[in-house]
Amino acid sequence: MIIFYNKKTRKIVGTVEGRVHDDDMIKNSMIKPSNVKKADIGKYVVPFRTDYKIIEEPIIEKRIVDKKTLRVEDVVVGKKKVKVSAGMSPHVPFADLILDFEKGRKSIYGYKAKLGKKGEVIGFTK
């Protein structure tokens, strides 16, 4: 998700939806009122990370179960723990709010960007 906001009023002016964006999209996308300069619009790319979970999977081996016909079957010989993807989540302290924006549970247009001392986005506030 890429969020555009007015640097002076901090009001949100637009979003590009999605969790993964190519470099061109991140660099070149822009949403702005026609009467506002590009320089007055801030762009915040919400960082997403892949979440992982550990699950148990059976260890399967092929065994000949009939020597005459050489019929082979899968046989569970044990268990192993494997790391698998559990989707993506916003990698920010206000992740729940981002998820609410994504799901439409809260309208992002009711919020303003909260800026840090260097002008960086540190959250969103009503």
């Binding site: 637009g14 979003t15 939806e17 822009m30 009122p33 026609s34």
Partner: protein
Amino acid sequence: MAKDYGIKVMKAGEDISSSDIRDILFSSKYTMLKYHSDNTTSIEITYGDGSGEIEISHDLGYVPAYIAYMTEGLISYPLPSYFPAPFPFGTQYQQFDSYADDENITLRVKAEPAYGVWNRNFTDVYNDYYNNNWSVMAGNNDGTTASGAIRFNAVDLVKDESITSAWLRIYVGYKGAGAGNLEIQTFGIDEDDTAAFSGSPMGRTSTTAVNNQSVIVPPTTEYMGIDVKSIVEEVTARGGWSRWNALGFKIYDNSSPNDVYIHDYYNSYLEIVHSGSTTFNFRVIIFKDRIDS
């Protein structure tokens, strides 16, 4: 005969030789739409403005295919859309549309009259030059002072409401032939719900707020504005004021030159711009139909 090389992906169960586009999920033979971006945005319009515009950059370098919606809660209206009322303060007509060029998708909102603007033609008038309730006149009519009053019922203002502006728009139906500025003083009638005019209302209590004006009378068929914001604020701050009460104004000559006056029978109105803004939300889905260079 040239062979038809390429890749085709069909819907499950459809024959690879089908030429029905609905059966083909992908074909390397044809240009096919591909998703580019899914955007949301909003346009906030301050009351008193009649239009707003926002640009979504797509950076494709050509005019792309796209779908644009105006969204209200769970409902999406594809653009262009045209809505009559029922937006606040009597907006009569509003239009939402969009256009594309090789850099941007531009969304537009246009309303007529502007958002947050309330206006109403007068319901009562008084003209002390003719001593009748048929027209409003102010200034100097051939050597004789002319003053008048004007009233508007059912005013859409709540008590103590903050407003951006309030103007009396006096229509110049007739004007004097004299030279120089029209000199007038405008007061409000300092009453909670001033009654309809029957005869002269000039003896009714005046507001403290007053507008002293020295102005060149516009040509006939045009309007002359009198700023009555502070007068309206004083009356609507009264303890007994409530929404839909009536407002009245008295316009006195203030030593206008000989034969400099304005006179209207039908068209003068009160225009109030409320404080606030209105916001519209949009969603725009943009598609690619060419290979990236």
